[in-house]
Protein backbone atom coordinates (compact mmCIF):
# COMPACT_ATOMS: atom_id res chain seq x y z
CA UNK A 1 0.00 0.00 0.00
CA UNK A 2 1.32 3.48 -0.88
CA UNK A 3 2.06 5.97 1.88
CA UNK A 4 -0.35 8.49 0.35
CA UNK A 5 -3.02 5.82 -0.02
CA UNK A 6 -2.62 4.87 3.64
CA UNK A 7 -2.91 8.53 4.59
CA UNK A 8 -6.04 8.95 2.47
CA UNK A 9 -7.61 5.89 4.07
CA UNK A 10 -6.77 7.25 7.52
CA UNK A 11 -8.20 10.71 6.72
CA UNK A 12 -11.38 9.35 5.17
CA UNK A 13 -11.78 6.87 8.01
CA UNK A 14 -11.26 9.61 10.58
CA UNK A 15 -13.80 11.86 8.87
CA UNK A 16 -16.34 9.09 8.36
CA UNK A 17 -15.90 7.72 11.85
CA UNK A 18 -16.00 11.08 13.60
CA UNK A 19 -19.23 12.04 11.82
CA UNK A 20 -20.74 8.61 12.48
CA UNK A 21 -19.65 8.74 16.11
CA UNK A 22 -21.16 12.18 16.45
CA UNK A 23 -24.43 10.86 15.06
CA UNK A 24 -24.34 7.81 17.34
CA UNK A 25 -23.50 9.99 20.35
CA UNK A 26 -26.40 12.33 19.54
CA UNK A 27 -28.83 9.44 19.08
CA UNK A 28 -27.71 7.68 22.22
CA UNK A 29 -27.78 10.84 24.31
CA UNK A 30 -31.30 11.62 23.10
CA UNK A 31 -32.34 8.04 23.83
CA UNK A 32 -30.75 8.22 27.29
CA UNK A 33 -32.59 11.44 28.14
CA UNK A 34 -35.83 10.05 26.71
CA UNK A 35 -35.50 6.96 28.94
CA UNK A 36 -34.66 9.16 31.90
CA UNK A 37 -37.75 11.26 31.24
CA UNK A 38 -39.82 8.10 30.93
CA UNK A 39 -38.45 6.79 34.22
CA UNK A 40 -39.12 10.09 35.97
CA UNK A 41 -42.68 10.01 34.67
CA UNK A 42 -43.33 6.43 35.83
CA UNK A 43 -41.67 7.21 39.17
CA UNK A 44 -43.96 10.19 39.62
CA UNK A 45 -47.04 8.10 38.77
CA UNK A 46 -46.00 5.47 41.30
CA UNK A 47 -45.52 8.07 44.03
CA UNK A 48 -48.90 9.55 43.15
CA UNK A 49 -50.45 6.12 43.75
CA UNK A 50 -48.62 5.84 47.09
CA UNK A 51 -49.97 9.27 47.98
CA UNK A 52 -53.55 8.04 47.40
CA UNK A 53 -52.86 4.96 49.50
CA UNK A 54 -51.64 7.20 52.32
CA UNK A 55 -54.74 9.40 51.97
CA UNK A 56 -56.99 6.33 52.38
CA UNK A 57 -55.10 5.25 55.46
CA UNK A 58 -55.21 8.76 56.95
CA UNK A 59 -58.97 8.77 56.46
CA UNK A 60 -59.44 5.47 58.29
CA UNK A 61 -57.12 6.59 61.13
CA UNK A 62 -59.00 9.89 61.41
CA UNK A 63 -62.33 8.07 61.60
CA UNK A 64 -61.15 5.53 64.17
CA UNK A 65 -62.51 5.80 67.68
CA UNK A 66 -59.25 4.82 69.37
CA UNK A 67 -57.76 6.87 72.17
CA UNK A 68 -54.46 7.09 70.29
CA UNK A 69 -53.92 7.17 66.56
CA UNK A 70 -51.30 4.99 64.90
CA UNK A 71 -49.68 6.80 61.99
CA UNK A 72 -49.80 4.59 58.86
CA UNK A 73 -46.42 3.10 57.88
CA UNK A 74 -45.60 1.38 54.59
CA UNK A 75 -42.96 -1.07 53.38
CA UNK A 76 -42.37 0.56 49.98
CA UNK A 77 -42.22 4.21 50.96
CA UNK A 78 -41.95 6.73 53.81
CA UNK A 79 -44.28 9.63 54.35
CA UNK A 80 -44.94 12.81 56.27
CA UNK A 81 -47.93 15.05 56.84
CA UNK A 82 -47.98 18.83 57.30
CA UNK A 83 -50.82 21.10 58.41
CA UNK A 84 -52.21 24.05 56.44
CA UNK A 85 -49.58 26.36 57.99
CA UNK A 86 -46.86 23.95 56.81
CA UNK A 87 -46.04 22.74 60.33
CA UNK A 88 -44.91 19.14 60.52
CA UNK A 89 -47.54 16.86 62.10
CA UNK A 90 -45.84 13.48 61.73
CA UNK A 91 -43.00 12.07 59.64
CA UNK A 92 -41.30 8.77 58.85
CA UNK A 93 -39.07 10.45 56.23
CA UNK A 94 -35.31 9.86 56.24
CA UNK A 95 -34.61 13.35 54.96
CA UNK A 96 -36.94 16.14 56.02
CA UNK A 97 -38.38 18.31 53.27
CA UNK A 98 -38.33 22.06 53.63
CA UNK A 99 -40.02 23.21 50.44
CA UNK A 100 -43.62 22.03 50.05
CA UNK A 101 -44.27 24.03 46.89
CA UNK A 102 -42.60 21.63 44.46
CA UNK A 103 -44.69 18.67 43.33
CA UNK A 104 -42.00 16.14 42.38
CA UNK A 105 -38.26 16.23 42.98
CA UNK A 106 -35.17 14.24 43.88
CA UNK A 107 -32.87 14.57 46.87
CA UNK A 108 -29.83 12.28 46.66
CA UNK A 109 -31.05 8.79 45.78
CA UNK A 110 -34.64 9.46 46.90
CA UNK A 111 -37.59 10.81 44.98
CA UNK A 112 -40.30 12.91 46.63
CA UNK A 113 -43.90 13.63 45.77
CA UNK A 114 -45.94 16.31 47.53
CA UNK A 115 -49.70 16.57 47.24
CA UNK A 116 -52.26 18.69 49.00
CA UNK A 117 -55.19 17.17 50.82
CA UNK A 118 -58.72 18.18 51.57
CA UNK A 119 -60.46 17.59 53.96
CA UNK A 120 -57.63 17.60 56.39
CA UNK A 121 -57.51 14.07 57.82
CA UNK A 122 -55.51 14.24 61.07
CA UNK A 123 -55.05 17.90 60.18
CA UNK A 124 -52.89 17.00 57.14
CA UNK A 125 -53.07 19.62 54.39
CA UNK A 126 -49.92 18.29 52.65
CA UNK A 127 -48.64 14.75 52.28
CA UNK A 128 -45.03 13.99 51.38
CA UNK A 129 -44.07 10.63 49.91
CA UNK A 130 -40.41 9.53 49.95
CA UNK A 131 -39.16 6.57 47.96
CA UNK A 132 -35.75 5.27 46.93
CA UNK A 133 -35.41 6.19 43.26
CA UNK A 134 -35.51 3.22 40.90
CA UNK A 135 -31.98 3.06 39.43
CA UNK A 136 -31.70 3.50 35.68
CA UNK A 137 -29.65 0.57 34.34
CA UNK A 138 -29.64 1.51 30.68
CA UNK A 139 -26.23 3.26 30.74
CA UNK A 140 -24.26 -0.02 30.71
CA UNK A 141 -26.51 -1.40 27.99
CA UNK A 142 -26.05 1.76 25.95
CA UNK A 143 -22.23 1.70 26.31
CA UNK A 144 -22.08 -1.96 25.22
CA UNK A 145 -24.38 -1.25 22.29
CA UNK A 146 -22.32 1.83 21.36
CA UNK A 147 -19.08 -0.22 21.36
CA UNK A 148 -20.66 -2.88 19.11
CA UNK A 149 -22.00 -0.22 16.74
CA UNK A 150 -18.62 1.54 16.64
CA UNK A 151 -16.75 -1.70 15.87
CA UNK A 152 -19.21 -2.53 13.08
CA UNK A 153 -18.90 1.02 11.74
CA UNK A 154 -15.08 0.84 11.76
CA UNK A 155 -15.09 -2.48 9.87
CA UNK A 156 -17.70 -1.31 7.34
CA UNK A 157 -16.03 2.04 6.82
CA UNK A 158 -12.65 0.38 6.28
CA UNK A 159 -14.06 -1.83 3.52
CA UNK A 160 -16.04 1.09 2.14
CA UNK A 161 -12.95 3.27 1.89
CA UNK A 162 -10.98 0.46 0.26
CA UNK A 163 -13.81 -0.06 -2.21
CA UNK A 164 -13.98 3.64 -3.05
CA UNK A 165 -10.21 3.89 -3.45
CA UNK A 166 -9.91 0.77 -5.58
CA UNK A 167 -10.16 2.47 -9.01
CA UNK A 168 -7.66 5.07 -7.88
CA UNK A 169 -5.31 2.38 -6.57
CA UNK A 170 -5.56 0.44 -9.82
CA UNK A 171 -4.68 3.55 -11.81
CA UNK A 172 -1.76 4.28 -9.52
CA UNK A 173 -0.46 0.73 -9.87
CA UNK A 174 -0.76 0.99 -13.63
CA UNK A 175 1.20 4.24 -13.63
CA UNK A 176 3.75 2.83 -11.25
CA UNK A 177 4.29 -0.23 -13.41
CA UNK A 178 4.57 1.97 -16.47
CA UNK A 179 7.25 4.14 -14.84
CA UNK A 180 9.10 1.04 -13.61
CA UNK A 181 9.12 -0.49 -17.09
CA UNK A 182 10.08 2.79 -18.75
CA UNK A 183 12.89 3.38 -16.27
CA UNK A 184 14.19 -0.10 -16.87
CA UNK A 185 14.13 0.45 -20.61
CA UNK A 186 15.98 3.79 -20.23
CA UNK A 187 19.02 2.25 -18.61
CA UNK A 188 20.54 0.54 -21.65
CA UNK A 189 20.35 3.48 -24.14
CA UNK A 190 21.72 5.99 -21.59
CA UNK A 191 24.64 3.73 -20.69
CA UNK A 192 25.31 3.15 -24.38
CA UNK A 193 25.31 6.91 -25.13
CA UNK A 194 27.60 7.77 -22.22
CA UNK A 195 30.01 4.87 -22.91
CA UNK A 196 30.27 5.75 -26.60
CA UNK A 197 30.88 9.45 -25.97
CA UNK A 198 33.72 8.51 -23.58
CA UNK A 199 35.34 6.36 -26.28
CA UNK A 200 35.34 9.17 -28.87
CA UNK A 201 38.75 10.61 -29.60
CA UNK A 202 38.64 14.40 -29.22
CA UNK A 203 41.49 14.78 -31.74
CA UNK A 204 39.31 13.38 -34.51
CA UNK A 205 36.67 16.04 -33.94
CA UNK A 206 36.71 19.69 -34.77
CA UNK A 207 35.92 22.26 -32.11
CA UNK A 208 32.26 22.66 -33.16
CA UNK A 209 31.58 18.92 -33.07
CA UNK A 210 33.40 18.69 -29.74
CA UNK A 211 31.09 21.31 -28.26
CA UNK A 212 28.06 19.41 -29.54
CA UNK A 213 29.45 16.21 -28.06
CA UNK A 214 29.93 17.91 -24.69
CA UNK A 215 26.29 19.04 -24.77
CA UNK A 216 25.16 15.50 -25.59
CA UNK A 217 27.28 14.23 -22.70
CA UNK A 218 25.80 16.77 -20.27
CA UNK A 219 22.26 15.95 -21.38
CA UNK A 220 22.96 12.25 -21.03
CA UNK A 221 24.41 12.84 -17.54
CA UNK A 222 21.22 14.68 -16.57
CA UNK A 223 19.05 11.87 -17.90
CA UNK A 224 21.27 9.32 -16.18
CA UNK A 225 20.96 11.25 -12.94
CA UNK A 226 17.19 11.33 -13.29
CA UNK A 227 17.24 7.62 -14.03
CA UNK A 228 19.22 6.98 -10.85
CA UNK A 229 16.72 9.04 -8.83
CA UNK A 230 13.79 7.15 -10.27
CA UNK A 231 15.43 3.80 -9.60
CA UNK A 232 16.13 4.94 -6.05
CA UNK A 233 12.53 6.01 -5.50
CA UNK A 234 11.06 2.87 -7.04
CA UNK A 235 13.33 0.46 -5.23
CA UNK A 236 13.70 2.42 -2.02
CA UNK A 237 11.01 0.44 -0.22
CA UNK A 238 12.25 -2.93 -1.36
CA UNK A 239 16.04 -2.82 -0.93
CA UNK A 240 17.62 -2.76 2.51
CA UNK A 241 20.65 -0.51 3.12
CA UNK A 242 24.10 -2.02 2.56
CA UNK A 243 26.04 0.17 4.99
CA UNK A 244 29.83 0.40 4.78
CA UNK A 245 32.61 2.83 5.75
CA UNK A 246 32.63 5.30 2.86
CA UNK A 247 35.45 7.67 2.06
CA UNK A 248 33.28 10.76 1.63
CA UNK A 249 36.24 12.87 0.43
CA UNK A 250 36.94 10.54 -2.50
CA UNK A 251 33.30 10.13 -3.26
CA UNK A 252 32.65 13.89 -3.29
CA UNK A 253 35.62 14.50 -5.60
CA UNK A 254 34.34 11.81 -7.92
CA UNK A 255 30.83 13.26 -7.98
CA UNK A 256 32.15 16.81 -8.60
CA UNK A 257 34.11 15.42 -11.53
CA UNK A 258 30.94 13.70 -12.77
CA UNK A 259 29.12 17.05 -12.84
CA UNK A 260 32.04 19.05 -14.30
CA UNK A 261 30.66 18.93 -17.84
CA UNK A 262 27.30 20.18 -16.66
CA UNK A 263 28.99 23.02 -14.75
CA UNK A 264 31.16 23.92 -17.72
CA UNK A 265 28.12 24.49 -19.93
CA UNK A 266 26.99 27.27 -17.50
CA UNK A 267 30.60 28.44 -17.10
CA UNK A 268 30.49 27.86 -13.34
CA UNK A 269 33.50 27.98 -11.07
CA UNK A 270 33.45 25.14 -8.59
CA UNK A 271 35.51 25.88 -5.47
CA UNK A 272 35.91 22.74 -3.43
CA UNK A 273 37.51 22.65 0.01
CA UNK A 274 37.51 18.99 0.80
CA UNK A 275 39.13 17.62 3.92
CA UNK A 276 40.90 14.35 3.19
CA UNK A 277 39.82 10.97 4.51
CA UNK A 278 36.43 11.89 5.87
CA UNK A 279 34.61 8.63 6.53
CA UNK A 280 30.92 7.98 6.96
CA UNK A 281 29.11 4.71 7.56
CA UNK A 282 26.26 4.46 5.07
CA UNK A 283 24.93 2.85 1.91
CA UNK A 284 27.07 3.95 -1.04
CA UNK A 285 24.21 4.26 -3.47
CA UNK A 286 22.19 6.41 -1.07
CA UNK A 287 25.04 8.80 -0.25
CA UNK A 288 25.74 9.07 -3.96
CA UNK A 289 22.09 10.04 -4.52
CA UNK A 290 22.33 12.55 -1.69
CA UNK A 291 25.47 14.27 -3.03
CA UNK A 292 24.26 14.11 -6.65
CA UNK A 293 20.95 15.74 -5.82
CA UNK A 294 22.51 18.57 -3.80
CA UNK A 295 25.17 19.19 -6.47
CA UNK A 296 22.78 18.98 -9.41
CA UNK A 297 20.34 21.34 -7.67
CA UNK A 298 23.12 23.86 -7.08
CA UNK A 299 24.25 23.63 -10.71
CA UNK A 300 20.71 23.71 -12.06
CA UNK A 301 19.49 26.69 -10.07
CA UNK A 302 22.58 28.90 -9.99
CA UNK A 303 23.06 31.70 -12.51
CA UNK A 304 25.51 31.48 -15.37
CA UNK A 305 29.19 32.37 -14.70
CA UNK A 306 28.84 32.22 -10.93
CA UNK A 307 30.61 30.30 -8.19
CA UNK A 308 29.63 27.09 -6.49
CA UNK A 309 31.40 26.55 -3.16
CA UNK A 310 31.67 23.08 -1.76
CA UNK A 311 33.09 22.37 1.71
CA UNK A 312 33.58 19.02 3.40
CA UNK A 313 34.85 18.57 6.95
CA UNK A 314 34.57 15.57 9.28
CA UNK A 315 31.14 16.72 10.47
CA UNK A 316 29.82 18.95 7.71
CA UNK A 317 29.10 19.15 4.00
CA UNK A 318 28.01 22.45 2.56
CA UNK A 319 27.15 23.42 -1.02
CA UNK A 320 26.35 27.01 -1.88
CA UNK A 321 25.34 28.61 -5.16
CA UNK A 322 24.70 32.14 -6.38
CA UNK A 323 21.32 31.55 -7.92
CA UNK A 324 17.92 33.17 -7.55
CA UNK A 325 17.42 31.78 -4.01
CA UNK A 326 14.19 30.77 -2.27
CA UNK A 327 11.73 32.43 0.06
CA UNK A 328 11.12 31.19 3.63
CA UNK A 329 7.80 29.70 2.48
CA UNK A 330 9.45 27.85 -0.38
CA UNK A 331 12.10 26.41 1.95
CA UNK A 332 9.36 25.09 4.24
CA UNK A 333 7.68 23.33 1.33
CA UNK A 334 10.83 22.07 -0.32
CA UNK A 335 10.61 18.51 0.99
CA UNK A 336 7.22 17.84 -0.57
CA UNK A 337 7.42 15.37 -3.43
CA UNK A 338 6.94 16.84 -6.93
CA UNK A 339 7.40 20.36 -5.54
CA UNK A 340 9.17 22.57 -8.10
CA UNK A 341 9.57 26.27 -7.66
CA UNK A 342 11.28 26.98 -10.92
CA UNK A 343 9.38 25.37 -13.78
CA UNK A 344 11.95 26.59 -16.35
CA UNK A 345 14.34 23.93 -15.10
CA UNK A 346 13.87 20.25 -15.88
CA UNK A 347 13.17 17.54 -13.33
CA UNK A 348 10.27 15.97 -11.49
CA UNK A 349 10.74 17.73 -8.18
CA UNK A 350 11.73 14.50 -6.50
CA UNK A 351 15.29 15.57 -5.54
CA UNK A 352 14.54 16.93 -2.08
CA UNK A 353 12.17 14.07 -1.35
CA UNK A 354 15.10 11.70 -1.91
CA UNK A 355 17.43 13.93 0.15
CA UNK A 356 14.91 13.95 3.02
CA UNK A 357 14.48 10.17 3.08
CA UNK A 358 18.28 9.65 3.15
CA UNK A 359 19.11 12.27 5.80
CA UNK A 360 16.30 10.94 7.97
CA UNK A 361 17.66 7.41 7.68
CA UNK A 362 21.20 8.43 8.68
CA UNK A 363 20.21 11.08 11.21
CA UNK A 364 21.84 13.89 9.22
CA UNK A 365 20.72 17.42 9.97
CA UNK A 366 19.98 19.70 7.03
CA UNK A 367 20.05 23.47 7.14
CA UNK A 368 18.99 25.51 4.11
CA UNK A 369 19.93 29.17 4.09
CA UNK A 370 18.70 31.16 1.17
CA UNK A 371 18.48 34.81 0.16
CA UNK A 372 16.36 35.80 -2.85
CA UNK A 373 18.57 36.75 -5.84
CA UNK A 374 21.74 36.01 -3.85
CA UNK A 375 21.85 32.27 -3.58
CA UNK A 376 21.23 29.20 -1.52
CA UNK A 377 23.46 27.33 0.90
CA UNK A 378 22.69 23.76 1.89
CA UNK A 379 24.52 22.52 4.99
CA UNK A 380 24.48 18.92 6.09
CA UNK A 381 25.82 18.14 9.57
CA UNK A 382 26.15 14.81 11.33
Amino acid sequence: MYKSEKQTIIYVLALYLSSTLLLIATLFTSYYFYKQEQLTHSEKELLKEYSLTLEDKLLSVHESSDEKYEYPRFKDFNSAIYDIDKNLIFSTLKTQVTDLDKEFFFIGSNSYYISSLQPYYLGAAYTVIEKKTTPMNILNELVTLAIVVIIITIITSFFLVKLVLKPLRDNLRLLDNFIKDTTHELNTPITTILANIETLDPQNCDEKSMKKLQRIKTASTTVSNLYQDLVYLLLNHQVSSQNEELNLSDMLNQRIHYFTHMANIKKLNIHAEIEENVYFNADKQKIERLIDNILSNAIKYTDKETNINITLTSTLLSVSDEGKGMSEDEINKIFERYRRFDKTQGGFGIGYDIIKSIIDEYDIKIDIKSVINKGTKVILTW
Binding site: H62, D83, I84, Y120
Partner: protein
Protein backbone atom coordinates in the same frame (compact mmCIF):
# COMPACT_ATOMS: atom_id res chain seq x y z
CA UNK B 1 -35.60 27.05 91.54
CA UNK B 2 -36.48 23.87 89.60
CA UNK B 3 -38.93 22.84 92.31
CA UNK B 4 -40.62 26.23 92.23
CA UNK B 5 -41.00 26.08 88.46
CA UNK B 6 -42.47 22.56 88.58
CA UNK B 7 -44.84 23.67 91.33
CA UNK B 8 -46.00 26.70 89.36
CA UNK B 9 -46.62 24.57 86.24
CA UNK B 10 -48.52 21.91 88.17
CA UNK B 11 -50.52 24.53 90.02
CA UNK B 12 -51.44 26.45 86.92
CA UNK B 13 -52.43 23.28 85.01
CA UNK B 14 -54.61 22.13 87.92
CA UNK B 15 -56.03 25.61 88.08
CA UNK B 16 -56.52 25.60 84.28
CA UNK B 17 -58.16 22.17 84.39
CA UNK B 18 -60.42 23.14 87.25
CA UNK B 19 -61.43 26.39 85.56
CA UNK B 20 -62.12 24.32 82.35
CA UNK B 21 -64.44 22.15 84.42
CA UNK B 22 -66.06 25.22 85.86
CA UNK B 23 -66.37 27.16 82.60
CA UNK B 24 -67.01 24.37 80.10
CA UNK B 25 -67.94 21.05 81.66
CA UNK B 26 -70.44 22.79 83.89
CA UNK B 27 -72.83 23.10 80.97
CA UNK B 28 -71.51 20.50 78.47
CA UNK B 29 -71.17 17.77 81.06
CA UNK B 30 -68.90 14.71 80.83
CA UNK B 31 -70.84 13.10 78.00
CA UNK B 32 -70.17 15.95 75.61
CA UNK B 33 -68.21 14.64 72.62
CA UNK B 34 -65.13 16.88 72.96
CA UNK B 35 -63.13 14.38 71.00
CA UNK B 36 -65.58 14.32 68.14
CA UNK B 37 -65.72 18.11 68.01
CA UNK B 38 -61.92 18.30 67.85
CA UNK B 39 -61.91 15.78 64.98
CA UNK B 40 -64.41 17.90 63.08
CA UNK B 41 -62.42 21.09 63.69
CA UNK B 42 -59.18 19.33 62.66
CA UNK B 43 -60.83 17.99 59.51
CA UNK B 44 -61.96 21.48 58.55
CA UNK B 45 -59.23 23.80 59.81
CA UNK B 46 -56.06 21.65 59.94
CA UNK B 47 -53.62 23.74 62.00
CA UNK B 48 -53.63 24.65 65.69
CA UNK B 49 -53.77 28.35 64.95
CA UNK B 50 -56.70 28.04 62.58
CA UNK B 51 -58.64 25.63 64.82
CA UNK B 52 -58.29 27.88 67.88
CA UNK B 53 -59.28 30.94 65.85
CA UNK B 54 -62.37 29.16 64.44
CA UNK B 55 -63.52 27.97 67.89
CA UNK B 56 -62.97 31.42 69.38
CA UNK B 57 -64.95 33.14 66.61
CA UNK B 58 -67.79 30.65 66.86
CA UNK B 59 -68.08 30.88 70.63
CA UNK B 60 -68.02 34.67 70.53
CA UNK B 61 -70.66 34.83 67.87
CA UNK B 62 -72.24 31.45 67.03
CA UNK B 63 -73.93 31.26 63.61
CA UNK B 64 -75.11 28.46 61.36
CA UNK B 65 -72.36 29.21 58.90
CA UNK B 66 -69.59 29.00 61.47
CA UNK B 67 -70.88 25.84 63.11
CA UNK B 68 -69.19 22.61 62.21
CA UNK B 69 -72.15 20.49 63.34
CA UNK B 70 -74.38 18.73 60.79
CA UNK B 71 -77.38 20.73 59.56
CA UNK B 72 -79.86 18.15 60.87
CA UNK B 73 -78.40 18.49 64.34
CA UNK B 74 -78.53 22.26 64.20
CA UNK B 75 -82.10 22.20 62.96
CA UNK B 76 -83.07 20.01 65.86
CA UNK B 77 -81.16 21.66 68.68
CA UNK B 78 -80.39 25.10 67.25
CA UNK B 79 -77.13 26.87 67.78
CA UNK B 80 -75.66 27.54 71.18
CA UNK B 81 -75.79 30.86 72.97
CA UNK B 82 -72.96 33.37 72.91
CA UNK B 83 -70.29 32.77 75.50
CA UNK B 84 -70.34 34.86 78.63
CA UNK B 85 -66.59 34.50 79.12
CA UNK B 86 -64.31 37.40 78.43
CA UNK B 87 -61.81 37.10 75.54
CA UNK B 88 -58.80 36.33 77.72
CA UNK B 89 -60.52 33.58 79.68
CA UNK B 90 -62.14 32.18 76.54
CA UNK B 91 -58.74 31.94 74.83
CA UNK B 92 -57.31 30.21 77.89
CA UNK B 93 -60.17 27.71 77.88
CA UNK B 94 -59.68 27.06 74.16
CA UNK B 95 -55.98 26.46 74.84
CA UNK B 96 -56.84 23.94 77.56
CA UNK B 97 -59.36 22.27 75.28
CA UNK B 98 -56.84 22.06 72.43
CA UNK B 99 -54.11 20.71 74.70
CA UNK B 100 -56.39 18.02 76.08
CA UNK B 101 -58.01 16.86 72.87
CA UNK B 102 -55.86 17.74 69.84
CA UNK B 103 -55.18 14.85 67.44
CA UNK B 104 -51.50 15.59 66.82
CA UNK B 105 -50.44 14.76 70.35
CA UNK B 106 -52.26 11.42 70.09
CA UNK B 107 -50.44 10.33 66.97
CA UNK B 108 -47.72 7.73 67.42
Amino acid sequence: MVRTTIFIILFSSILGASSFEQNCLNCHGDDFKFNMMMKKYTLKYSSEKKIKKAIFEYLKNPTFEKSILPVGYLNRFGIKEKTSLDDKLLKEMIDVYYDKFNMNSKLY
